[in-house]
Subunit: 275 residues, 2 copies
DNA sequence: AGGACCATTTTGGTCCTACCAAATTGGTCG
DNA sequence: CGACCAATTTGGTAGGACCAAAATGGTCCT
């Protein structure tokens, strides 16, 4: 579905991220890639441009070389999460950890220097999260909305950008794991109440403590959820909901490369054989 | 010096970030931009691609629209810092705050789950920072090296990517402000000693306290430095060190647009008149 | 031999032209 | 007034030609 250059960029990014190339290695030339993937060189160039801006390759006249991973852009996280069938628990945990820290920072800034109206706005989100009788879906959405509100009202642009960028990237993964999460609502609500009180009294120390506890709770929630997802070991995105096979004229699932055009290197055996 | 598309992307990014366009506004068409800036449409396309990947514009068939700022990539920070002559103190403060939080997180993870050898490596950096008799330049470099070591040994990739990305962007600004910073070395060393002790005993609570204090110290250091820079109100990058005028055949300073080609919109008066 | 130097080849960078598909636009008809 | 449809605008793709910088491999001097 997506354009050629986009697919190519994805393929190359995955190959680099998977460690097929060592940092410093020369990438095949644009012209060679063009013939190998049977696309126009322009498409290759756009893909290389993406790699360059992603920070996974350093492309210069004379040749392109792969860059060390830790110098890449934050946007590679999405690729890393998507490359493995079951999300990497460790990476996901790191993301959560960072988000929660930034969230804590934003909330602390809010209670220290924020306007009263902003604090009230956040409190409204927190209480709304508490009072209503929500199903887990709505509860999750409300949680996210609360986080968003905290980020925005904090006024810290850097914080917002990072959080938004991270969220955008792990949202699909989260969606895939969601069926397996079982949040301890009781404890969560206890924390939410504490947060509300801390916000009302502008008690920074307690705010921080609450977010530390949030982090711990999330970790305890996430780990078994991922384990459950691993046990099932199903393809996250579509294969869960797909129940009606549809007409026989259908092409391949779409998440993978269309077999009609050979954007993948020639005759690379599919690693996950149909069983 | 830089390529046309790069200049164009910078110009457009700055115009969008400066609020000249509202979020949701339509950007001029590629063909129109091509004639306005007297460049090939291909160059315009590359610039638009950059804007798109930067998250400041949403470009689709039918037209490109500017995106809300808070949905942009983290990489716009560099533009925002560079667009104003004197760095924005508030934004710089936010960056520092975030970095210090992430640093604290990394250090805490290190003392909680890190290997002994890694902790020793960080301690070495801290002590090296303490013992030697360094000038402020070397001291700053050693501080950065310490932070880098903490980030790397922590093993949190997300943390590393954010920190590296932020640092890469505010490094030039930091360089510009550096002449004006006067670090309270005595207090800093006191904190460093505390950090060393906390690392040795794997005392997570103290580690966090130390980084909170670091944050506070940096804030107290940064604010007057920026104020001093504002007072001087000099162009950060080159004009400070340039003392020998060079041959008369020289072109314009290079940071600005070459007068021979009109990449800037026609006859736009320079906003900062020479005084 | 070993190292410095230089011409050739390779490689990415730019430009141009033409054409395609999707979105927008503006008119037209019910 | 609203739904629908065609013409236009807009971004997307393709292919080719050429340029400049880097890498390469040979040559010459020491």
């Amino acid at each position: 579905m997506s354009a050629k250059h986009s697919q190519l960029a994805g393929t190359l990014t995955d190959e680099i991220l998977s460690g097929r190339y060592q940092a410093g290695d020369r990438l095949p030339s644009e012209r060679e890639l063009a013939v190998r993937f049977n696309v126009n060189r322009g498409a290759v160039r756009e893909a290389m441009s993406r790699l360059s801006q992603l920070g996974v390759a350093d492309v210069q006249p004379g040749g392109a070389r792969v860059a060390p991973i830790n110098e890449a852009s934050l946007d590679i996280i999405g690729h890393m999460l998507a490359s493995t069938q079951v999300p990497d628990a460790q990476l996901l945990g790191q993301i959560f950890q960072v988000v929660e820290r930034l969230l804590s920072m934003a909330a602390e800034a809010l209670v220290e220097r924020g306007r009263a109206t902003d604090i009230e706005a956040v409190r409204a989100r927190v209480l709304q999260l508490l009072d209503s009788r929500l199903d887990s879906e709505a509860h999750a959405a409300a949680r996210i909305e609360m986080m968003r509100t905290i980020m925005i009202t904090s006024g810290n642009l850097v914080c917002q950008l990072i959080a938004h960028g991270l969220f955008k990237q792990f949202a699909p993964t989260l969606e895939a794991v969601k069926p397996y999460v079982q949040l301890d609502v009781e404890q969560f609500n206890r924390l939410a109440r504490r947060l509300d009180g801390a916000l009302a009294t502008r008690d920074r120390r307690t705010v921080r403590e609450v977010f530390d506890d949030f982090s711990e709770l999330h970790n305890r929630t996430l780990t078994p959820a991922i384990e459950a997802a691993v046990r099932q070991s199903v393809r996250p995105s579509e294969s869960i909901t797909r129940q009606n096979p549809g007409p026989s004229s259908r092409r391949s699932p779409g998440a993978n490369v269309d077999p009609s055009d050979n954007l993948a290197p020639r005759s690379r055996d599919t690693e996950v054989a149909a069983s």
